[in-house]
């Protein structure tokens, strides 16, 4: 599978532009809301619960149904099939029958002639609630053992003995917040009834198969009666994996009832109130270590705020536990994961999928160890890194065989000279009284593959037409990440044809069935291999035709740069396609791929869940204002392992974008629920995602050179969608570093994420008081 010497334009490892780039810059790329309504189409709106927990006593639709333009309204009882859209565990009603469990939960939906009519009528629905006490805090959920899925445990060695005997021991707790996806295109679906029981659904979804299944369950029809299609999303980030099912499901039930096409597009506030987010986590720890910071025992509790139902929470928690080691060998450990049930919106997949929270936990603990020992986090990490050939088994029993973290960190240091940078920061802080700077690094090891082995499979469908043009289809979805172009590059490479000859078609369950979500960074790994498999099958048949035509062995036929060679004779790829048809040889093939080597035992939380790991490292410099608590990221330097990148330009975009998104999670993006469980930050006016001035003014992202994947992935590339998000933990650690400077780096900040100005200011005051008490104030 090595690349040939003469390169075809648009083949692998080239920085080909995004396939929709021209459409994006001219506004001609169509999103779902841009598709003109067919005559008779209806628009829909939701009625959302104003209570976090309440019994529904009665719902009166009379006024709504009498409102201008209204055609239908639906409640739970109008669902013809099974009222459940749970992706992992069956516990999620599309619409509640007698109980609402979060503020913002859809209770009813209206379809009307226009969007304004539907939204106006939704306000006329009278729901009589009997409010109940909500459970909102993780502490309370843990205390009541109120979980959406059973607790998960990972253990190794004798952690209790290790904690008792070690030279140093620290314990405590801290939190990280959740994160709204804030995809710029909100959730949207258009459901159109077809002949008989057929239902066609356009959905802005990362998981068309789940939409297909969800809609079929709701309508009580077989999977083959439902087709789900998506050409592109205006961003997804995990928020359109399971959450899109609710939207498509409601549109489909309304369409079923009215026998008319129904579009449901949520206004931003409804989107933020009704759909799930990244999980907030509560972390409790007890850790023991020697004088040099070598960790002996770690007892770690991760409690995820799952919200009202399971959704993805159990799997997010598993991934969090599988990343609480980050890059470190932990001989004695007990990791406990709690999937807490609370009365907020059900939290879900979000880029990193628990990985960020797991690394947040271990890296914050390491920083605390460093302060305790008056050394640097880098020195503590150095003592604890996984070894090569020794101390290389993760808490879940997988051997780390591809460890290149040392090389990645060297590369970072070579780019930036960390020691000198550190001196500059310390010198600055010595003469600056109000503004303090912080600097921190962050190593990342992230496991690639879905934890659940069954999801690690993919299909593709490739057709070659007799003019040599090709259409490509696969189960992956395009949300801006550049999956479609990468897979097209793989096919261009296989056939040795210009990428312009390949047309990429919309993802649909009618072409490639039983697909996995486009998630876990696995899109190009899985779909690229499936498409390669399809292309190679067609190419083998075409090779035989050429061999017969030129009367030489098939092994001597070479496809190169739009031509097919037999020694010094040749014909164009198009001529060979036409000849193949003439000879009655099929020019269409499905392709299939399943990731090798992986296995996972859910009962013991052990196995080899990941085909490989990807590595990265970052350094970030921040400044905080000790009078206001405001912070700024001044500089970020990143190195990311992409294996042998399929498309360096696209991958660089993923790295930069993920980093800034991770910064948002850790700094400005605060989800605030009031004491009644109402989300108070449900629009961009109160919920602050990073803007252009928040991105680091000095920002250098680099792809680790010459680092082909040691596993046989598609042309030795590595996945890149999620891992760089965790590089943003360098910003979190740098803010902690700046605060710690107020104690001459002897104390660790008491700080939760996101590090909003309010929290930073509190932490500044707190550390000053503590430092004064211990006589180390500056």
């Amino acid at each position: 599978m090595s690349a040939p010497l003469a390169r075809v334009p648009g083949g692998i490892h080239a920085s080909v532009r995004h396939d929709s780039a021209a459409g994006h810059v001219s506004g001609s790329a169509l999103y779902l809301d841009d598709i003109p309504n067919v005559p008779g189409s209806l628009e829909a709106a939701l009625v959302l619960s104003p209570h976090a927990h309440a019994r529904i006593k009665a719902i009166d639709l009379t006024a709504a149904l009498a409102a201008p333009g209204v055609v239908a309204a639906i409640l739970a009882k109008d669902i013809p099939g099974k009222n459940d859209i749970g992706p992992i565990r069956p516990d999620e009603p599309l619409l509640p029958t007698d109980m609402v469990e979060y503020d913002g939960q859809p209770v009813a939906a209206i379809a009307a002639g226009t969007l304004d009519q539907a939204r106006a009528a939704a306000k006329l629905v009278r729901v009589d609630y009997e409010p109940l006490a909500p459970v909102l805090s993780l502490d309370e959920a843990i205390e009541r053992e109120q979980f959406v899925a059973p607790p998960q445990i990972m253990t190794r060695g004798d952690v209790d003995a290790a904690l008792k005997t070690a030279a140093h021991r620290l314990s405590g707790e801290f939190n990280c917040g959740g994160q709204d996806h804030f995809y710029l295109e909100g959730q949207i679906a258009i459901a159109t009834p077809g002949e008989g029981r057929e239902m066609h659904v356009f959905s802005s979804t990362q998981h068309p198969t789940e939409i297909q299944h969800g809609v079929a369950h709701l309508l009580g029809i077989p999977f083959n009666a439902v087709t789900c299609e998506v050409r592109r999303m205006g961003g997804g980030f995990g928020g359109k994996e399971s959450q899109a099912t609710m939207i498509a499901g409601i549109a489909a039930v309304l369409a079923w009832k009215t026998r008319r096409p129904v579009k449901l597009r949520l206004p931003r506030d409804d989107d933020m109130r009704a759909t799930g987010k990244r999980h907030p986590f509560l972390i409790r720890y007890e850790v023991s270590f020697d004088d040099g910071g070598l960790i002996d025992g770690l007892d770690l509790m991760l409690a995820a705020n799952g919200g009202n139902v399971a959704d993805h929470t159990p799997a997010v928690l598993t991934r969090a536990l599988c990343h609480s080691d980050n890059c470190y060998w932990l001989p004695n450990l007990r990791f406990r994961g709690y999937a807490c049930k609370t009365n907020i919106v059900s939290n879900t997949a979000f880029r990193g999928y628990g990985g960020p929270q797991g690394m947040f936990a271990i890296e914050t603990i390491i920083e605390m160890i460093a302060r305790h020992l008056s050394t640097s986090p880098e020195a503590v990490r150095e003592r604890n890194f996984y070894g090569i050939g020794r101390n290389d088994v993760t808490p879940y029993g997988m051997k780390v065989e591809d460890n290149i973290i040392a090389r990645v960190l060297e590369e970072l240091d070579r780019n930036v000279d960390l020691a000198r940078w550190r001196e500059e920061i310390v010198a600055f802080n010595r003469q600056s009284t109000i503004i303090k700077k912080g600097l921190a690094t962050m190593p990342v090891k992230f496991g690639i593959s879905f934890n659940r082995p069954a999801l690690n499979q993919a299909g593709a469908l490739v057709h070659v037409y007799t003019d040599g043009s090709v259409t490509l289809n696969h189960g992956g979805t395009e949300m801006g990440q550049g999956l479609f172009i990468k897979v097209a590059q793989v096919v261009a490479e296989a056939f040795q044809i210009d990428i312009d000859n390949i047309r990429i078609t919309a993802t649909t369950t009618a072409k490639v069935p039983n697909t996995s979500p486009t998630a876990a960074s696995s899109g190009s790994d899985l779909n690229g291999m499936a498409a390669l498999n399809a292309a190679e099958r067609i190419k083998a048949r075409m090779t035989d035709v050429a061999a017969e035509q030129f009367n030489i062995p098939a092994g001597e036929i070479v496809f190169q740069q739009n031509r097919v060679y037999a020694g010094n004779r040749s014909m164009s790829f198009a001529e060979l396609a036409a000849l193949s048809w003439e000879k009655r040889v099929s020019l269409s093939a499905t392709g299939y791929y399943r990731t090798p080597k992986i296995h996972w035992d859910f009962a013991t939380n052990s196995g080899r869940p990941f085909y490989y790991f990807t590595y990265g490292a970052a350094a970030a410099e921040v400044a905080i204002d000790t009078l206001t608590g405001e912070s700024r990221v001044l500089r970020a330097e990143l190195v990311q392992d992409c294996g042998q990148s399929l498309n360096p330009a696209i991958d660089l975009g993923q790295i930069e974008g993920a980093f800034v998104q991770g910064m948002g999670w850790l700094t400005t993006e605060e989800l605030f629920w009031d004491e009644k469980g109402r989300l108070r930050t449900h629009g961009p006016s109160t919920y602050k995602i990073p803007g252009s001035r928040d991105a680091p003014p000095v920002f250098n992202a680099r792809i680790l050179p010459d680092a082909p994947n040691r596993e046989e992935t598609v042309f030795r590339s590595k996945a890149v969608g999620e891992p760089p998000l965790m590089l943003a933990l360098s910003v979190w650690l740098a803010i902690r570093d700046a605060i710690s400077s107020l104690s001459d780096y002897r104390l660790a900040a008491k700080l939760d994420a996101p590090a909003t100005p309010e929290r930073v200011l509190e932490a500044v005051d707190e550390i000053r008081a503590r430092a004064a008490g211990s006589g180390s104030a500056i």
Partner: protein, 161 residues
């Protein structure tokens, strides 16, 4: 709530006369009545900038302006400035530098960038970051966008010499 008004205006250089609801936003009018769907609706709050269009030469938020306010005005959208070639260099730079991913923010971002470059021919990176700060992009992290705008500013400056 259904009061209707007659408006006439020019959109991308063409005269348009329509009867619209008094409460209809400019971006909904452009998208629904004129099928100019290149202007996107991201938040309907005036925060994200995805709905940015030009009215009488100034960039505005299409979700914060009513269609009736544009009676007699000249409105330009991404479709218009694409067809006229006015921002061809910016469009090329965005594509080349991969300053777009999902593309949802891109039309608004381009109009805002063009607004900057037509008023300040040699903006610093800081100035670019400042000027586009009212346009959210959730995908790119902005770095590529600033690079692309900066490269066009330099190229335009070079070609003026």
């Amino acid at each position: 709530m259904n009061e209707m008004c007659d408006i006439s205006l020019t959109v991308n250089g063409e005269r348009v006369s329509e009867r619209v609801e008094a409460r209809k936003s400019l971006v909904d009018f452009l998208r629904d009545d004129l099928t100019l769907t290149g202007s996107h609706v991201g938040c309907e709050h005036g925060v994200c900038g995805a709905c940015t269009v030009r009215v009488n030469g100034e960039i505005v938020r299409g979700c914060l302006m009513l269609a009736v306010q544009c009676d007699g005005a000249s409105v330009e959208t991404i479709e218009g400035v694409s067809d006229s070639g006015e921002i061809a260099d910016l469009q090329e730079a965005f594509q080349k530098r991969n300053a777009l991913q999902c593309g949802f923010c891109t039309p608004g971002m381009l109009l805002t960038a063009q607004d900057l470059l037509s008023n300040d021919q040699t903006p610093s990176r800081d100035h670019i970051r400042e000027h586009i700060s009212g346009n959210y992009c959730r995908c790119t992290g902005y770095h590529a966008i600033v690079d692309a705008v900066e490269s066009v500013a330099q190229a335009r400056k070079g070609s003026r010499k």
